[in-house]
């Protein structure tokens, strides 16, 4: 078995894929990548399935060494990245040859960066997925000395770049009403929708606190509510009426009332908002939300054709002759032959 050796890792780097749907009745939330869009972008860069596992990096990366030739891609929250000391582009794919070291620094925006391997990280599957679920005790964060086994890569280009939607600085989150929304008075709901929040200090894969000065947002019957099903995106009001947006690794049931649910395509924006980032909540109708989801699905479907050759300044390239300058030509060729599908 070969792969990527971890020489040094930030405190919360975990292998993630799309998680384990279907175990809600057993108390296990789906989990999986906090920013699913970043998974899809990495898969597009490497021309592979978005269900393959990648390394999710919260806040700070580490030092990794290839034990075999491999392709990698870097997506999500941008970080300082270098290969053998040479800076490399984010939202891009690169070749990493056996013995080369990849260094990933602190996030420059956002919260979660992703390191993808061509062929995916071939960690053992538990209950049908490779995603580490820290809250459930399934797997653990990677540590120095670990080997991230690389799956079989069907190969393909590197040196590609993808334009991404900026979701790393907060913004407006679209919210649909749910079964507990009526527990909040119209006045409280209106004030909630009119309030400018910031992401609080407490946040992890289970959820993110959002804060604002002044009064909280209490339900009319905050206590004595039956514990009920929770879904990611739910905005629950804790005992003091402070909102907490739940993320993929949330508990499956809870007794705190929820004022609404952030729609799935806006969840990467919640997960990626760094502490202090401004956030607002806008109630939208089911129809508006479904239309937004449909646009997001179309965007995901188009990602496979989005990568373009990296444009480099020759001065940034230490060994110009070492680069495969032909890769751009191959990419242009592909642009005219999209109908042939998977041509990686």
């Amino acid at each position: 078995m070969s792969g990527l050796r971890v020489h040094q890792a930030g405190p919360s780097c975990t292998v993630q894929d799309l998680g384990r749907p279907g175990y809600l009745d057993r108390g296990l939330s789906q989990g999986g990548a906090a920013d699913r869009l970043a998974l899809a972008e990495g898969a597009a860069l490497l021309g592979q399935d978005a269900g393959l596992a990648a390394l999710e990096i919260a806040g700070f990366g580490g030092v990794f060494e290839a034990e075999c030739d491999m392709r990698i891609a870097l997506t999500g929250a941008p970080m300082a990245a270098e290969i053998d000391g040479t800076r490399v582009a984010w939202n891009a794919s690169h070749a990493l040859y056996a013995g080369q070291r990849l260094g990933l620094g602190a996030v420059r925006a956002g919260s979660y960066g992703y390191l993808h391997l061509g062929g995916g990280i071939d960690a053992p599957q538990v209950l049908g997925a490779r995603a580490v679920h820290l809250a459930a005790g399934l797997g653990q964060a990677v540590a120095a000395g670990d080997l991230l086994p690389v799956g079989r890569d069907r190969g393909g280009e590197t040196g590609l770049h993808i334009e991404v939607e900026d979701r790393f600085a907060g913004g407006t989150l679209r919210v649909v009403e749910g079964f507990q929304t009526p527990l909040f008075s119209p006045e409280v709901r209106a004030r909630f929708a009119a309030t400018g929040f910031t992401r609080g200090a407490r946040a992890n894969r289970m959820g993110a606190a959002v804060e604002c000065p002044g009064e909280g947002f209490a339900a009319e019957e905050q206590l004595g509510i039956l514990s009920e099903i929770i879904v990611p995106g739910d905005i629950q009001m804790t005992g003091d009426g402070r909102p907490f947006v739940l993320l993929p690794e949330c508990q499956t049931t809870g007794g705190y009332p929820r004022i609404g649910t952030v729609i799935p395509c806006d969840l990467p924006r919640v997960a990626q908002a760094p502490a202090g980032a401004p956030l607002r909540f806008a109630f939208v109708s089911r129809e508006e939300a479904l239309a937004a989801e449909a646009r997001h699905a179309a965007h995901l479907a188009g990602l496979r054709r989005a990568p373009r050759p990296l444009v480099r300044h020759p001065g940034d390239i230490p060994d110009l002759l070492g680069y495969q300058l032909i890769s751009g030509a191959i990419s242009a060729h592909h642009d005219h032959h999209d109908d042939h599908g998977d041509n990686a």
Binding site: G27, S227, V231, E293
Partner: protein
């Protein structure tokens, strides 16, 4: 459903949205035996239909949750279908689902392993011996699984055990802790803080990652936490490496 039932549950059963891809079918807004039975039976009926577009279902204390694919079926189509199913019978009178099991778990009550038994017994107005006898003979049902993987909410205990949660949290109870509040037990999957009182300790693991059947319990299963002495418990805990904690399992004949 009779008109009489309707009077007792105005507004129920209720169909309401959960996010963009969920429907909640609620049979009550409080914990009651008939609503829990209704939820278990209704979920079984929903599962039996294998309707296209339904991704998964789960029960909570008095509700059934259905996650669906909005690209395959709309919320209105979901609720129309569910209304039809609800009208088919009086779900509150439903029998419990089939295939349930009775699980007897050796449990040490009190001692340093479960230090809040005395306090709980006093709050319930019972002697410690009577408390052990009552709790140890209570046959409770898995009302729902939730919070953490495989973790059951079990009820209902007799009325004396309608104890409120503690105002201050216990910082940490271990795996297998049997804790009590509001006429229910829960049995902790993982070490956790809790507002419930720690009255018993088992060596039973509700979640066994890597095992052929990683989830030890299902809603509707019944459990008895049979009293054993501390030395007997320690021997069982020492021997049981499969996570079962010496539990004896039998099918419940319907």
């Amino acid at each position: 459903m009779t008109a009489n039932d309707q009077q007792f549950r105005p507004g129920f059963p209720a169909l309401r949205p959960v996010g963009l891809a969920g429907v909640l079918v609620s049979f009550s807004d409080r914990l009651e035996e008939t609503a829990n039975r209704a939820a278990l039976a209704f979920r079984a009926a929903v599962e039996a239909e294998r309707r296209d577009g339904v991704a998964e279902t789960a029960t909570s204390l008095a509700s059934v949750f259905l996650r669906f694919d909005p690209d395959a079926i709309s919320y209105d189509e979901m609720t129309d279908w569910l209304q039809g199913l609800l009208a088919e019978r009086d779900w509150y009178a439903a029998a419990l689902p089939e295939g349930r099991r009775l699980i007897r778990v050796p449990t040490v009550y009190g001692t340093d392993l479960a230090p809040q038994l005395e306090e709980a017994a006093a709050a319930a107005g019972m002697s410690v011996d009577d408390a052990i006898a009552d709790l140890g003979a209570s046959r409770v049902r898995v009302l729902t699984i939730g919070f953490a993987p495989g973790q059951p909410y079990l009820g209902r205990l007799s009325a004396q055990w309608d104890l409120p949660r503690q105002t201050a949290l216990t910082a940490r109870v271990p795996v297998g802790a049997l804790v009590l509040a509001v006429r229910q037990f829960t049995l902790f999957t993982a070490p956790s803080p809790t507002g419930w009182r720690h009255v018993g300790q088992t060596a039973f693991h509700c979640f066994r990652p890597g095992a052929a059947s990683p989830f030890a319990l299902a809603p509707g299963d019944e459990m008895v936490f049979e009293p054993v002495s501390k030395p007997a418990f320690l021997r069982i805990a020492d021997k049981a490496t499969d996570g079962a904690g010496g539990a004896v399992i039998e099918e419940i004949a319907e």
